[in-house]
Homo-oligomer: 325 residues x 2
DNA sequence: CTGTTAGCGCATTCAC
DNA sequence: GTGAATGCGCTAACAG
């Protein structure tokens, strides 16, 4: 009984008929000695590393926790290790800059979760197995995104049902793919319902949210309900409302497009749209594994579970003049 | 001119005297063909992967952004790749559960940033190169932590200078190493200054912060200044203050032990202690690289830059009865 | 100073 | 059904 037999047993080779006792002897011996197959050597032989690389923007945005967690879980189920690379926001690089990970065979495929849309023309496109996560890449076929359309529908329908007709949206710049899709969706929804909508795009920081909300509030025809693209911007927006003495929800309804536990604890607990972050991460990893295995690709739209978390920041628009305080 | 020569040129072998033109020819050819050394094969030969694994708790706490960023930068400078593994809070595992990464040679060493202190006795200790980051491991020699003592000194001195004598602290459970060290530091500082201090330990969630703050406020001799261990707990604590109509800073001074941009934008902008997160991450990676190279180890205390960010949530304790609102 | 060669640890093809 | 042999891509120790 020798080397190769051991290898086969350890890899669970089906076409191997071995005496169960021998099999057991091998397994227990391996376990007892704490045998670990060398991933490098195995990778070299199989030309598969068993690792996936995920590139995410280095953000404080809590959505990444949910996404990463889903991805991690799916990876474990698929027998893969995930390495996460965080890209500083002040040093944004094209996705091709991460191909080296596959080319050097440190990973089998790439999960690209950087948020910026590339100019579809100039971009050469990745030549290694990959999936764009929460954004679309230059070509169709490798994109796994959430149903921002549905999310915006929840937002618009909620405030419309309360009686609002003039909406405002504070969000990041349109170069961010999710922002782009959300804006298009809101525009279409409002137009279909005969509602008006005003967008203010700004940096995804507290300061950006603050400035954008101020601009929105100082318009001649200010909206009566505002959606805010991220938790970060929300903090800024709430300060703007406070400064201008606009009370929520009496003078203004407020909805966050990021769900987070802290929303319940703010000065006014904030209604939000909760996205399927966990499912997004998991779906992307599964899609990538499929591509690494040579499977073809289809774009994926993750829609479940997508819900509105109703809290205290939304109400009917003020009709009379009941000034609180 | 053959294979090994190429290898040597590409690895920048000094002891190689070659005609510059040949050298150039090799380099340009390699570049033109997009040659990438196969990291697996190289690792196999050198028995060094060039990768470090960092295990962090899957928290929304923004401190990890700073730490990871510092670590990443130091890693790039050291020619290493960092793979980040996130450990779900609901599935806490001992550090030894991650040794397989080194044993399978997926990584050369481990950065352990999970927060829980192990029972020093039972724990076998890691047998692979490693560094504990922002916490202490079972033995001295491999720990890189921040100067929580100094941080607490900034907090206590700040409120003491404002005239506070009764302090409160809302923090996580003492099984978290940083919490343990902070508590010890505050106790010593207060005792030395003849001040009293009350601790409330709770889950590191908004809910936990809320409950702990309530308990603190309902004591017969409530403190006049409170320090809060994390941003998450801070949200809860602020809700408790709001509900009990305790105004900040008039009735209560408030300090966060996490610094974050959003603090400036809260209903009352919150004073905080800013920790050297970036430096911590970088120092830990450098320390780990040293250990991977066989170097001995010393515990490291990262103290710079450590500052108090003064905002509007701290003031002298109320003496008279000036009730604002 | 440069070319040849041996193996890093494993999976797998082939004879047996 | 099982053992021996080959090579994944690279580096380093050798000999030339």
């Amino acid at each position: 009984m020798h080397l190769s037999t051991v290898s086969r047993v350890l890899n669970g080779d089906q076409s191997l008929s071995i005496r169960p006792e021998t099999r057991d002897r091998i397994l227990t011996a391996a376990h007892r000695q704490g045998y670990r197959p060398n991933a490098m050597a195995r990778a070299l032989k199989r030309s598969r590393t068993g690792a996936l690389a995920m590139v995410v923007p280095l953000l404080r945005n809590p959505i990444w926790a949910g996404i990463q967690r889903g991805a991690l879980q799916a990876a474990v189920e698929g027998g893969q290790v995930v390495m996460i690379l965080e890209e500083p926001q002040d040093d944004v690089r094209p996705p091709t800059d991460y191909q080296y990970l596959v080319e050097e065979s440190r990973a089998d495929g790439l999960l690209i979760a950087t948020s910026r849309r590339e100019g579809a023309g100039r971009h050469r496109g990745l030549v290694v197995p990959h999936v764009y996560l929460n954004r679309r890449g230059p070509q169709p076929g490798n994109n796994v995104v959430m149903d921002e359309d549905m999310a915006m529908r929840l937002f618009v329908d909620h405030v419309a049902a309360l009686g609002h007709r003039r909406l405002g949206v504070v969000d990041g710049f349109k170069i961010i793919d999710t922002v782009h899709r959300r804006a298009a969706a809101v525009r279409a929804l409002c137009s279909a319902r005969g509602m008006s909508v005003t967008f203010e795009h700004a940096e995804d920081t507290e300061e950006g949210g603050y400035e954008a909300a101020r601009r929105l509030l100082q318009r001649s025809e200010a909206p009566t309900a505002i959606g805010v693209g991220s938790l970060t911007q929300l903090f800024g927006a709430m300060m703007a409302l406070r400064e201008l003495a606009v009370s929520v929800p009496d003078d203004m309804s407020l909805v966050s497009f990021d769900e987070d536990a802290c929303l319940r604890y703010l000065e006014v607990s904030v209604t939000s749209v909760s996205m399927p972050l966990h499912e997004l991460g998991a779906a992307a990893v599964r899609a990538l594994i499929e591509r690494v295995n040579g499977g073809a690709g289809e774009d994926l739209l993750v829609s479940n579970p997508l819900t509105l978390v109703q809290r205290a920041s939304t109400a009917a628009p003020r009709s009379g003049r009941r000034l609180r305080r």
